[in-house]
């Protein structure tokens, strides 16, 4: 499908590597997600203590979004994310804490992350975005649905840009591909191009 919008920049986080527009930004030999994402946080020079309270899905989304938005001045940026596992990884942690009635101490800090769109809130708070947001669950990265929804949002809402993409975390496996869609950019905002960019790294 053709689109009048374009992709300004994109970011991948997978296989203990972070890249922007296909170029390596950070890499570590750490294969464990917790160690990798903490090393990424430090490498990027971030100072945001709430980061360490987030669940793994939010940490993944937060780092990818921060890389793409750190020099952004536009505030009318909608957020449209998607993934396969929703917040299942955190849901399991919460379930484990409520299974044993004799040792029933569910953690409020875990419970608040038992929705995937909480990561959108974390990003909105950090970047002071008061924009529309949506979180879709697909079996796999779905460029045609995201392209259509994003384009419609840019045409019909007051959003000037959309931070869009895929951010999935479950049982230590993670994959993030976020991109910024705007009126002007350097990559075509088409389903075909999104498929190509998603597979770049």
């Amino acid at each position: 499908m053709n689109s009048s919008f374009q992709i300004e920049r994109f970011c991948h986080i997978r296989n203990h590597r972070i890249s922007v527009n296909g170029e390596m930004l950070f890499e570590t030999p750490e294969t464990d997600f917790a160690a990798f994402i903490k090393a990424s946080y430090k490498s990027l020079g971030l100072s945001y203590s709430k980061f360490f309270k987030m669940d793994n899905l939010s940490k993944l989304a937060f780092i990818a979004a921060d890389i793409l938005l750190k020099n952004e001045t536009e505030k009318k940026i909608a957020l449209v994310f998607s993934n396969r596992g929703s917040s299942l990884d955190t849901d399991r942690k919460h379930q484990e804490s409520i299974e044993n009635t004799a040792d029933f101490y569910p953690s409020p800090a875990v419970f608040v992350y038992t929705l995937p769109n909480i990561c959108l809130g974390e990003i909105s708070i950090k970047h002071e975005l008061h924009s529309e947001n949506a979180f879709f669950i697909f079996d796999s990265f779905n460029p045609s649905e995201l392209q259509a929804y994003c384009s419609s949002l840019l045409r019909t809402s007051n959003s000037e840009k959309v931070l869009c993409g895929w951010v999935d975390y479950d049982k230590g496996k993670y994959d993030a591909f976020l991109y910024v869609v705007a009126k002007n950019g350097i990559f075509a905002h088409t389903s075909e191009e999104l498929t190509r960019l998603y597979q770049t790294i």
Binding site: F52, P106, A109
Partner: protein
């Protein structure tokens, strides 16, 4: 009491994921919320769970937490007086 205060500082750092805070950086009289450690409302709920789980103290009224959680000093004093574990 000083052992309990040290234990509380260690528990707070671990359970509230205060990654960039060290035990020695928390003074006994530092405010835990607001301009002190900067804890938030979810942290307050975690502290209420911690009192129950680790010290057998159930707060009937969550508003009680405001005074109890003012500082390490006030927490330690309340726990020493009311603990069943």
């Amino acid at each position: 009491m000083s052992d309990l205060k040290l234990e509380l500082k260690e528990k707070i750092i671990e359970q509230l994921n205060l990654e960039d805070v060290a035990v020695e950086e928390i003074a006994d009289t530092d405010p835990l919320f607001g301009e002190g450690l900067g804890l938030d409302s979810i942290d307050a709920l975690e502290l209420i769970v911690m009192l129950d789980k680790d010290y057998g103290i159930k707060l009937a009224d969550p508003k009680e937490g405001r005074k109890i959680f003012e500082s390490i000093d006030t927490m330690a004093g309340y726990i020493a007086e009311h603990r069943s574990r």
